[in-house]
Assembly symmetry: C2
């Protein structure tokens, strides 16, 4: 019997960064690439991305009449220069091609595709009949980060979707931009069991080139927020820069309104960080590729046969039957707990006698004997419950960590204690800079939707507050 | 009523290249990107790719126990140098990053991913229990072509899938490599209605770094072959270069055998070229996003209502209901013929009286009245027939164009007449070069599977022939 070393060697509470890295690597979700800053998404990790893509295409792309397409990886330098704010925001992280290849032309690898997409839109959009015009693409983007690589969370290349829509009116555009962020929130909740804060970004934190940015922010166990998706009201800036116009119903030339919206493989990082534990990965059942693993106990032929039968009866759950002889049941339990299989079924000779199997839930270790006749039904119920309970647990955790601060001292204290602080804020970028410095890293995560702060003062500068925001440290 | 200019302005027979470009652009399948050599896959084109991906994941990835994953875009230069033949084959077309970004390190954008994938395999594969190890990825690759861009067929960036497998024995590897090319053939036949020649590449034409390359070759109406997919037996060259090894059942270190296999968005080009006509796009129903279009004739409210009802009853075919008032029925017919909707349903007041609709097939213009009660059934039958007949028609065309040449004069004549020439061949690269020169461009497409040419002589050099091959011009 071969028992190689396995499992996570540090505790989530003690060394969160090392714990996270070990979960990603040892659950075989990802690995580091050969070029500094790059990552490999291994099959177990890619299956989570595929589940996100499938949900997204069905519930967001199709339901909003958006169409998938593909735009080029390469962006000419002059495109960046057309929208000044956008260019400035991205220029430090843009990767360029070797000029010897391009006869001296400066060609970028897309960090995002607004410019390359809108150049095409200026050719394709002619009439109000073409609007709204809604395209999404799934692709890789490159941002030449200098900060340390963190699997799924920060890498020089990552996968994402980016939507780009064009509307006749500002109102339609605004409404849809908010709708997309709400659909992102729903995806996090329904599929990934991630509760998020939803709101608007401040001036300082909004997207380069946007009038408004909406965001969903998840809160990680190490006390940092993780931006999980953003949607941007782009106004008419890009349309003017790229000459996008349309003939309205009265045959008059008009400038349209635009938005863009994206979420990335970073979401996989959020799922791992949020739900997993010291034994390894915990996945919401909906994104687990294999929802169950069957481990026969002993080598009794009848048990083996029954295990095969159970597997066949649960094919829709993509079961793993681990009948390897070279490993002990205990070793197998550890392996599949590490890899985050939501439910384990154990069956041994005594279970067989009793016409039962033991099921063990990965998230709460609950172990119970189930009659074989009701196995399928019970497992489906437990998977559903696990999905819901993971969300409820994370939601309680999130709510517990939100604290209202009435003065600056409370803000500093809360940040030190790794909380999310809700407080009144003036909205000025320089005040936000000051708060970041004084708190050693806290920034605004978002302005609460619909928040008003009439007659209130900013928690830092004491000027009139504009709204109520969340402050925290972040990834 | 607004009647803008539409339709293809040249004949397929008269100016194939211009005709093809107009079909791609005017059917809104693709467009040229801003950076020379790049292309945009528009929603109508991307839907074809998505249909290919769905078929592929279900019938090839899943059925062969392969797993999808994602490897980085960037490849360090030293990886290319590890396998000499591979490096030499790709070096002229590799795009490099600007060195100022990488502290002088030479980093390539993947033209294919053997090296970056096998670097990881050397870390992941340990034991015979890990084999066969099979991963596929869907991604973009970059080859800095200097030849003119041709939408879907030749561009500096394109999308593809690449599979990379590792096996214990040469026999397993060979068997699977041939199995994958057969699955490619099946995909072309079943999904895209493209008949292909299947066989092995000659020494001269095989993949850089491969021991053997298998290929499927489609034959285009302009008399050129189009390579539609290849699978490669890589032998042990990459495994040795990248230190991939495994412990066999006797605990001995062994070097495994590898293959790789890929097909690309080029397939979309093949579909368009092969089936379409002077009116525009013709798509096999299985890859058409919208399988029917409903055009009400006149503005009778009852007709409109019935058209809506028909749409609802055929939702699974993703119908378009074209009830725009600003265009005439004739204009609409042209538009949807241009865009390749497989079946058109026309319904006017007189049809309504007779409780019928007119259906028109895009491929053969067959027009017939169908009772509304049997509309759904008939349309499903016609779609199936259309799919089959497109294949049969293309297959007859292919067979008609294959000619056996017994001497060099016949070979030259056949190539001039844009045929595929089957003849005996010695297999030497220099002889193939000579033939290419003498015929102004013909190369071997493939060696027929199982072909033997005992006691026969090479059609050019008169040395002993090794096998029977197909010669033709190609893309």
């Amino acid at each position: 019997m071969k028992e190689k070393k396995q499992g996570i060697t540090v505790k989530k509470e003690q060394d969160f960064a090392e714990w996270y890295s070990q979960v990603c690597l040892k659950s075989e979700l990802a690995d580091y690439g050969a070029v500094k800053g790059t990552m490999i998404i291994r099959p177990r990790g890619f299956a989570i991305w595929k589940a996100i893509q499938n949900y997204f295409d069905k519930n967001i792309v199709e339901k909003t009449n958006t169409k998938n397409a593909y735009f080029p990886l390469f962006v000419p330098e002059q495109f960046f220069k057309k929208e000044a704010g956008h260019a400035q925001g991205f220029s430090p992280e843009v990767a360029w091609l070797d000029k010897s290849l391009t006869q001296g032309e400066h060609i970028a690898i897309r960090p995002t595709s607004e410019t390359i997409v809108y150049d095409s839109y200026s050719k394709w959009i002619r009439s109000h009949r073409d609007l709204p015009f809604k395209i999404n693409q799934w692709c890789n983007v490159v941002r030449w980060e200098t900060q340390a690589t963190k699997l799924f969370i920060r890498s020089r290349e990552f996968l994402w979707q980016e939507g780009h829509c064009v509307y006749e009116t500002k109102e339609q555009c605004k409404k849809d931009t908010i709708n997309y962020i709400k659909l992102y929130e729903k995806l996090c909740r329904e599929l990934l069991a991630i509760p998020v804060l939803i709101g608007e970004k401040t001036e300082k934190e909004k997207f380069a080139g946007a009038e408004k940015t909406y965001t969903i922010e998840a809160f990680m166990p190490d006390g940092k927020a993780l931006q999980c998706g953003t949607t941007h009201e782009l106004g008419q800036g890009f349309a003017k820069a790229f000459n996008i116009s349309f003939l309205d119903k009265n045959e008059k030339q008009q400038t349209p309104w635009q938005n863009s919206w994206g979420l990335s493989t970073r979401l996989i990082g959020a799922v791992i960080m949020l739900h997993s534990d010291d034994k390894g990965l915990i996945l919401p059942p909906k994104v687990a590729e294999n929802k169950i693993v069957i481990v026969p106990i002993g080598e009794d032929k009848k048990v083996m046969k029954k295990a095969e039968e159970i597997k066949k009866s649960l094919l829709s759950l993509n079961p793993i039957l681990d009948n390897r002889k070279e490993y002990s049941p205990g070793w197998k339990f550890n392996e599949w707990e590490l890899k985050g299989i939501p439910i384990r079924i154990e069956i041994g000779p005594r279970d067989l006698e009793k016409k039962q199997a033991i099921i063990v839930r990965r998230d709460n270790n609950e172990k119970k004997p189930i009659k074989l006749t009701s196995l399928k039904k019970t497992i489906n119920t437990e998977l559903k419950k696990m999905q819901e309970e993971l969300f409820e647990k994370a939601k309680k955790q999130l709510e517990k960590n939100i604290i209202k601060a009435n003065n600056f001292k409370e803000l500093v204290k809360g940040i030190k204690e790794k909380k999310i602080i809700q407080s009144n804020f003036c909205g000025y970028a320089n005040c936000e800079d000051e708060i970041k410095e004084k708190t050693k890293g806290a920034t605004t995560r978002c302005i609460l939707f619909g928040s008003k702060a009439k007659k209130k003062k900013c928690i830092n500068c004491k000027k009139d507050a504009k709204y109520s925001v969340y402050f925290s440290k972040s990834y």
